[in-house]
């Protein structure tokens, strides 16, 4: 059962506050890069290397800003990476406690079924392509819905507003074109 927006909004706002009170604002999308770095470094140990001052990488993106991403790849047990793993654990336990997502929802969301019928392969292809575009965009923007939109606008940062304007300017027309039936 979904929480009423008043309770849910207060709870979510409190979590964002707790994060900035105790550590730093919440962000997620960087960790996709860190996981890529971990995978890449397993295949090719030359990808991330230790230097006298810290870490660097043969990949210009991992090496940027004094090798801060390279450092996280070399030390995956850091705050931000563990945070995302903990998010998954929290969502898993929360879903379990409410009885889990129904079987048909796990396979296909109702909104997809209403618009495109029982076409799971097509849905997975769209989810894959959507994921590609989301993360490419998030890295270009330097953050995602969590880091830019929520944490950013909460801190009154200009970039958060620019990001949110772009995200909704694209998301609303695309959703209206793709999902005409309400489901």
């Amino acid at each position: 059962m979904t929480l009423n927006w008043r309770a849910g909004g207060l709870l979510l706002g409190f979590v964002f506050f707790l994060a900035v009170l105790l550590v730093k604002p919440i962000g997620v999308s960087t960790q996709f890069v860190i996981l890529n770095g971990l995978i890449g470094d397993t295949v090719n140990a030359e990808l991330v290397t230790k230097t006298e001052e810290g870490y660097t990488s043969t990949n210009a993106y991992l090496a940027k800003s004094g090798g801060k991403y390279a450092k996280s790849v070399a030390n995956p047990l850091n705050y931000s990476f563990v945070f995302v793993l903990a998010m998954m654990a929290g969502a898993f336990l929360s879903a379990l406690a409410r009885g889990g997502a129904p079987r048909d929802e796990r396979k296909l969301p109702a909104i997809w079924y209403a618009n495109y019928g029982d076409t799971p392969m097509k849905r997975y292809a769209v989810a894959f392509l959507g994921g590609f575009i989301v993360l490419y965009g998030a890295r270009l923007a330097g953050g995602c819905t969590s880091g830019h939109m929520m944490s950013g606008m909460m801190q009154t940062s200009l970039s958060g507003y620019i990001f949110a304007a772009g995200a909704f300017a694209a998301a609303i027309p695309v959703a209206m074109m793709m999902y005409r039936k309400e489901g």
Binding site: G8, S29, M87, M154
Partner: protein
């Protein structure tokens, strides 16, 4: 070590709340973005407002360390990246945080979203030098700036207005908008909630 414990506690709380407000459910995202049920939008607006008021009020009372603020740079790529993210968000019904949580809650399509996301992030890692050279990543309007000038913050303000008071006012505005926003803007009739 204590930072790892905080990561586990705050991360798990965030994941659980995302699950409970419907943010990990593509049906709720779809209804929000087609403007047919704005329940989740109200949740998000109230959350931004609540977080903002608590943080800035806490700073003014000396309870919250201003040094914990982390403001991202503004550049043209932020808007272009936002357009891209919005497109994929609408297509898939997931963003990075809600995608990983949805996968953990058993949604199969979310695992495909994560796989696509890893490939998309890798594609950016490879094409980053071209973006850097294009000038799209160069700071605009001062780069890492807040709207007002937050006392004690290392980030500049666009306006000289006192940033913490402005933050509380904007936070209050988000909360008011959350209350004023109708249940639906597109289509007719009662806003229908997803079955799940």
């Amino acid at each position: 070590m204590s930072s790892i414990i905080l990561a586990i506690v705050i991360g798990a709380a965030f994941g659980a709340v995302l699950d409970r407000i419907g943010a990990t459910n593509p049906n709720w995202i779809g209804k929000m973005l087609t403007l047919t049920n704005l329940h989740l939008m109200k949740t998000i607006l109230l959350a931004i407002g609540t977080g903002s008021v608590l943080m800035f009020a806490g700073q003014m009372l000396g309870l919250v360390d201003v040094g914990h603020m982390s403001v991202k740079a503004a550049y043209l790529g932020v808007f272009i990246g936002g357009l891209l993210l919005g497109t994929g968000w609408a297509m898939a019904g997931y963003c990075p945080g809600t995608g990983v949580c949805a996968a953990a809650s058993g949604r199969k399509d979310a695992w495909f979203f994560i796989a696509g996301g890893l490939l998309g992030a890798a594609a950016y890692m490879v094409t980053y030098p071209a973006w850097k050279a294009s000038g799209m990543l160069d700071n605009i309007a001062g780069g890492k700036v807040t709207l007002g000038t937050v006392p004690g913050s290392k980030f500049d303000g666009i306006w000289a207005a006192q940033g913490d008071i402005l933050g509380i006012l904007l936070g209050a505005a988000f909360i008011v908008i959350a209350f004023l926003l109708p249940e639906r803007l597109a289509g007719r009739g009662e806003a229908i909630a997803p079955a799940e």
